[in-house]
């Protein structure tokens, strides 16, 4: 199989059962889950708490073993250490070594990946610029805000220039401005051709960045596909006009009704609360 055709992520019939200790019952966290993520694709894994998203990610990263099925990263079985060469991971609420500075943290993870000293120095500068943390590079992480920790976490995930990034709730507990920055970074990764597997409760954010989504419930995949296919309402059409007069709007309504189409709704579109918040706060940050 050629390199180009190899899926970034391949999960085939994954089942994970957590055996209960002593008399406790076993818990089936994931049931026969299958999915594929193409190179360069942004895939959103969504579902309620306890649905099996994090377990799936952990199996993919070799942190826990599958009870059945197989997971692979760029064709390399996840149970093998070398599968982690091509992947960067940002866990939910990451706590890195708080005694290290931002730069030291990236050095630490870069060296673990075997990045050479010279290349690592340049890479760290590049990443600090990417996540906009150059000003805090020499500060210990214990002084970082939640959003800054998420961003340094994202930088460590990218330190060895992986072709796949796995993000587990990357915006959990982050304020809207920080959340927006992380969303922009994901879009930047997409532009660079890096595949992303993203788990998030913020469905609006998933909608903004993902090419495809999978909805997981009680450990099983209940819906999967391209985002626009899943959320578009096939028999409805949206027209957005600017500076339309009342007369024009009335004529459009008459035309629609005269042509056997049902006129559903007309009104002014609304901005999102996030956009309003960002508009009102971003200019005042300085």
């Amino acid at each position: 199989m050629s390199e180009k055709k190899t899926a970034a992520v391949s999960i085939d019939g994954l089942t994970k059962v957590f055996r209960g200790a002593l008399a406790r019952e076993s818990v089936v966290a994931v049931k026969e889950l299958s999915l594929e993520v193409a190179p360069g694709e942004v895939y959103g894994l969504i579902g309620p708490n306890g649905s099996g998203k994090s377990t799936t990610m952990k199996v993919l990263l070799g942190l826990i073993r599958p009870s059945a099925g197989r997971t692979a990263i760029f064709g390399v079985d996840s149970t093998r250490v070398e599968s982690r060469r091509q992947v960067g991971f940002l866990p939910e609420n990451p706590y890195f070594y708080r005694h290290l500075t931002g730069r030291e943290t990236l050095q630490f993870y870069g060296r673990l990946c075997g990045v050479g000293r010279g290349a690592l120095r340049a890479r760290i500068d590049e990443l600090l610029e990417l996540v906009e943390l150059g000003h805090a590079a020499r500060r210990p992480l214990r002084g970082y805000s939640k959003g800054m920790l998420q961003r340094i976490g994202l930088a460590q995930a990218l330190v060895q220039e992986p072709r796949l990034v796995v993000l587990d709730e990357p915006t959990a507990g982050v304020d809207p401005a920080g959340s927006r920055k992380i969303r922009d970074l994901i879009l930047e990764l997409k532009q660079r051709g890096i595949a992303v597997v993203l788990s998030s409760h913020l469905l609006e954010q998933v909608q903004e960045v993902c090419d495809r989504v999978g909805i997981i419930f009680n450990g099983s995949m209940v819906q999967e596909g391209r985002l626009e296919d899943l959320i578009s309402i096939e028999n409805q059409t949206e027209i957005i006009l600017k500076n339309a007069s009342a007369d024009l709007l009335e004529r459009i309504r008459d035309l629609a009704e005269g042509a056997d189409a049902e006129f559903v709704k007309m009104g002014q579109p609304r901005t999102t609360l996030e956009s309003l918040f960002l508009r009102e706060t971003e200019g005042r940050e300085e």
Binding site: L61, G62, L63, R65, R80, V81, P94, H99, Q156, Q160
Partner: protein, 316 residues
Amino acid sequence: MSSREADRKPRVKPGGTVATRRGIGASAGRIGTLAGTTFLQLLRMKTFYFLLIFSILVVVASTFNVLHHTGEQHLKLLKDVALGAMSLFTSLFAIVATALLIPSDLEDRTLQTILAKPVPRYDYILGKLCGVILVVAVSVVVMDLIFGAVLYAREEMMVAAELAGATESGGFAEEDLAVLEERLRSQGLNWNLQNAVAAIFLKSCVICAVTMLVSTIASTSLFTIIVGFVIFFIGHLQSVARDYWMHALDAGLWKRLFSGLVALIFPDFQIFNVVDGVVAGEVIPLGAMTRMAGLTILYVMVYSMVAYLVFADREL
């Protein structure tokens, strides 16, 4: 199949071809990086504060001579207190510092970000172990320097004072003064003391390894510390269990089985117990030190290997 097994066996692709195996072996660079960060972590946690307590203790022990000991007795007491404190502090420090490492990485999920990188679990275990042993080594060197400096200073003061006293009182020939000085100096700073310090360090290496093994099973630092202390105490009685197992042939099956199990599982800390002998002036032969070092390496290797085997299958 565990990840350990998966690394060992070539995997067969669904199509039937054997996947090219490009395994990841232990890397000195990765182990060094983990060891360096562990060293820095313990350093920045201000764990070296106990050295201050040690310094105060040694200085106090060297200053007060409430029982009006002779110079020789005073130096002996100073060595006894300092080496005893060094042994106790190093052992306690080895248990507590090691117990803090893996459970805290597990608790705050730092472990997930480390093992999500191409880091084999044996590299992680070895890196952590090397880091904590490095911290212990630095602590022992610092304590040794403090102890050596204080002992040397007291030795010089005692020699000067006792020789001056003897000269003033008269009746001492040159040879008598030389004998007096030699007797005092035999209780002062000498290379044989370094054998005791080396034994303390080697013992702490075994403590680190065995505590590391416990921490791969435990989920909290507190549990690791408690079990570490229990092992520490049992380790001092291991030789009793071993003798019972080997010689009490007429004892009941269960008693022999239990004593055999204790002898097999726990390290024998009595082999490092040379401090009393050194304080008493006993010279530790090189052969004994070499045997001690060999046993330490064996213990550390065995406990590290078991720690890896436990940790390799641990779900994070």
